[in-house]
Each structure stands twice: as C-alpha cells, then as structure tokens.
C-alpha cells in the first residue's frame, strides 16, 4: 500500500505521463507535481507521481558510503 516505485517519465500529455519501469509502462497522473519533464525519475504511488527523485542527492548518499570503505582501508581500526 505504501509501496512507491521509482519510474522514469517517457512522455507527458494532458496532465498524465507514460512512465516506464523495467519492461513495463504505466499511465501516471502528474496532478501532484509541478515541472516534470521526460527523462525525470519520479516515485509512482497508486497511480500518481508523488515526488521527483534527485540523482545528485542519490550520488552524494552513495559517495558517503563509499568513503567509509576508503577510510577503513586507509586507517583500519579507526573510525574517528
């Protein structure tokens, strides 16, 4: 129910977007978001795009984790 899946906007027409995930496409309402364009990733929930996914933020989150690896490689045993 609270499941929302990340999908990519393919085309937009009349307040609805055709979105794709894996091999599937779906018609999603854009009523709850402003300024979406084809190529954007959004969260799809019960037929509505509810939020845009920010790729830069995603990369930043991943970078922080990857840095933990470098830290522990560099000075093992210390997490200060």
């Amino acid at each position: 129910m609270c499941l929302s899946i990340p999908v990519r906007i393919v085309t937009i027409e009349g307040g609805f977007a055709t979105v794709s995930f894996g091999e599937n496409t779906y018609r999603a309402s854009l009523q709850l978001l402003e300024g979406m364009k084809p190529g954007d990733y959004v969260l799809l929930h019960a037929g509505f795009a509810i939020q845009k996914l920010d790729r830069q933020e995603a990369e930043e989150t991943l970078r922080l984790i990857d840095e933990m690896q470098d830290l522990s490689d560099g000075k093992s045993g210390s997490d200060q």
Partner: protein, 361 residues
C-alpha cells in the same frame, strides 16, 4: 542507470555491516514504522545480517493492518446494496472480519472491483452513470493526496455518482501513541514515502518531547542499513534528532502541491487504529463542502456488531510490544494462505513478512 540498483549493491551492504558491527556497542531496539520497510527488511534478510544486539521491530504503518472491522463491515454492506459498485485496492480484499471478507462477498456476487488507483475508480463512475461508485480510501499521507485529487476531479468531471469511504490516517499521532503506550524503542526508522509528501518536520516531537531519534529511510538494503547506522550513532552520541537518509526523495518541505491538495479537501479527525483504539486527530475526513462525495455521510454505516473473539495478537504487534512469533496462531492457525488476522493478509503486515521470509529458510 537505475538508481535503485546502486542501493542494492553487495559491496556497499558489506561496508555498512562492518561499520555497524564496529559501532554497535550497546543494545538497540529500532522500530520501522512503515509496512513497506517491514517487507523490505524481511525480503532482504536484514535481521539475519545484523548483530544480535540490534533488534528491528514493526510498527503501525501497514494501512490494511490498522483498518477497523467496522470500516470493512460498512464496505461490505455497501457492496450488497443494489446500484453500488465498490472499488478497492487489492490489499483490503482478504482481511477477515465478522466471518467474511470483501473477497468472499465478491465471490458470492457482490459488486466489488479491484483498482490500482483512484483514477480507475473515477473512470468506472464515468462509464457507469447508472451506478454509484464508492472508492475505499485507505492509506497514510502518501495516498491521501491522490484521493483528494480524485475527489476534486470527480467535481470537475461532473461525476455526481462518485463517492469515497475514508479511513485515511496520518502517521505522527500513531507514533506518539506508540511512545506513550510505553515502548522501549530507542529509535524510529521513519516512513520514507509519507515523508516525501510531508517533509521531515513532522517527527520533531519525538526527539524534542521523548528523546527518541529518527531517521527517514529509503527502501533498498543499503538505505535501511545506513539508516540503522545513523540511529546507532544518534544513540551512542546521546543526541537524538531527525535525520534524512532518503535525501533523493525527501526534501525538508516535502511536496507542497500534494500537501495543499490534501488540506484543501480533508480535515483532521479522530480515527480508530487496530491495536490502539481511537487516536485523536489521526484521521482525515472530507470537509463539509465535499460531503456530497462522502459515502460515510451519504450511506450510513450498518449497526455495530459484537467483535468476534480471536486469539490474534495483531494489535500488540502493531504497538511494538509483541512480535509475530509470540502469537499462538502464527504459522499454524494463521498463514498467508489462510489468514486469521489483518497482519497476515497484507504483504506489508509484520506476520505476513515474517512468515514469508522466515518460515521458508
């Protein structure tokens, strides 16, 4: 590039697990509030990966699990009335109540149609002008804006034969109820998709009033483990706050457009939650100007019946005081194929997730 895949990568899971093992110096009980997290945690086998000192328990964030029997009774009564089509999310179909369920009634010929979105229910109303279509509106802040948009759309499209029966709920009062109910939870994994709509401000009372930390988390294994690590650090530092791990979807202000539509159509009301009873200010009902679309007002509820006695412990599980393994019916008198309680029906229910991913090991 599929962003989600990056958050499932084994290497990153290992980095986080190593860090968690290093930093987990105490005992920790973290509650994942959202049913989507419960499913993700069990499907990725996360409890088995974490050190034994970290206990993850489920909370009241599975919409189907917390829905009342009287709501289901009302929906079933409507489905038996001539001229009414009931449109519902599939998850509600199998919830047992009073010896029946929407699924059993549907098999016996009641007019119940499964939809994935309120937009399909609106199209049903447009195609069946001689019928009245009632959409069963359940879910939290993630789902309620869509319902609100649907109600506005019904007006714009002149669909006077479209109604909703609302059991919509909002999350913060239930989290307060968990804490006030006396829990030993020392951190919340907060619902990511609720927060994508509301923003991160709604949880401030947890650290401020109760000294309990919160991390708003995504749904992939790397997200969940990073959130666990962030909570461990909050506890170790004795510095509880509200942090966002799921920054790719959750902005501090949430989704203002969705919030505005929700506030335009709904007003806050009291709501009944399984496990808690009535929680003040925890529900959403249509404002007076939209009452003509309110099935709860237009089609009165059937008389309350005596609740059926049951050994089901779903209520205590939703409050975080028990786990599915404590229930005498778990796995014997209650299975996903033949559920005795709501927590075994929904894929997001703790009993269902526990059964599906633990019993098959």
């Amino acid at each position: 590039m599929d962003i989600s895949k990056e958050f499932r990568e084994r290497g990153r899971v290992d980095i986080l697990l190593r860090q968690i093992r290093q930093e987990a110096t105490e005992k920790y009980i973290f509650m994942e509030v959202c049913g989507g997290h419960t499913t993700a945690i069990h499907s990725y086998g996360i409890p088995g990966l974490l050190p034994g000192s970290i206990n993850l328990i489920s909370g009241p964030g599975c919409p189907v699990c917390v829905t009342s029997e009287s709501f289901l009774d009302h929906a079933i009564a409507l489905s038996a009335m001539p001229g009414i089509l009931v449109a519902t999310f599939g998850d509600l179909l199998r919830v047992p109540g009073g010896g029946t369920s929407l699924e059993k009634e549907k098999a016996a010929g009641a007019s119940i149609i499964v939809v994935y979105s309120i937009n399909e229910a609106l199209d049903l109303a447009a195609k069946n002008k001689d019928k009245m279509v009632v959409f069963l509106a359940i879910g939290f802040e993630t789902t309620a804006p869509g319902t609100a948009a649907g109600v506005l759309d019904a007006g714009k499209r002149g669909l006077a034969n479209f109604f909703i029966l609302s059991a919509h709920k909002i999350m913060p009062p239930a989290m307060r109820a968990v804490v006030e109910g006396g829990t030993n939870v020392n951190g919340f994994i907060c619902p990511g998709h609720v927060s994508a709509i509301t923003g991160s401000g709604i949880y401030g009372f947890l650290p401020d009033d109760f000294g309990i930390g919160c991390v708003i988390s995504g749904f992939e294994p790397v997200d969940i483990l990073q959130s666990v690590l962030m909570l461990i650090r909050q506890v170790n530092r004795k510095d509880p706050g509200v942090e966002v791990q799921y920054t790719r979807a959750v902005r501090p202000e949430g989704n203002p457009k969705a919030m505005n539509i929700m506030k335009q159509v709904f007003k806050v009301s009291d709501q009944w939650w399984r496990g808690f009873g009535t929680i003040p200010g925890s529900g959403l009902q249509l404002k007076p100007e939209y009452e003509k679309s309110d099935a709860g007002k237009v089609f009165p509820a059937p008389p309350q019946r005596q609740p059926v006695e049951s050994l089901c412990m779903c209520g205590s599980i939703l409050r975080g005081t028990h786990t599915p393994a404590d229930c005498p019916l778990f796995g014997t008198g209650c299975t996903p194929a033949d559920p005795a309680g709501a927590c075994m029906v929904s894929a997001e229910g703790a009993c269902h997730a526990f059964h599906k991913y633990t019993m098959s090991l």
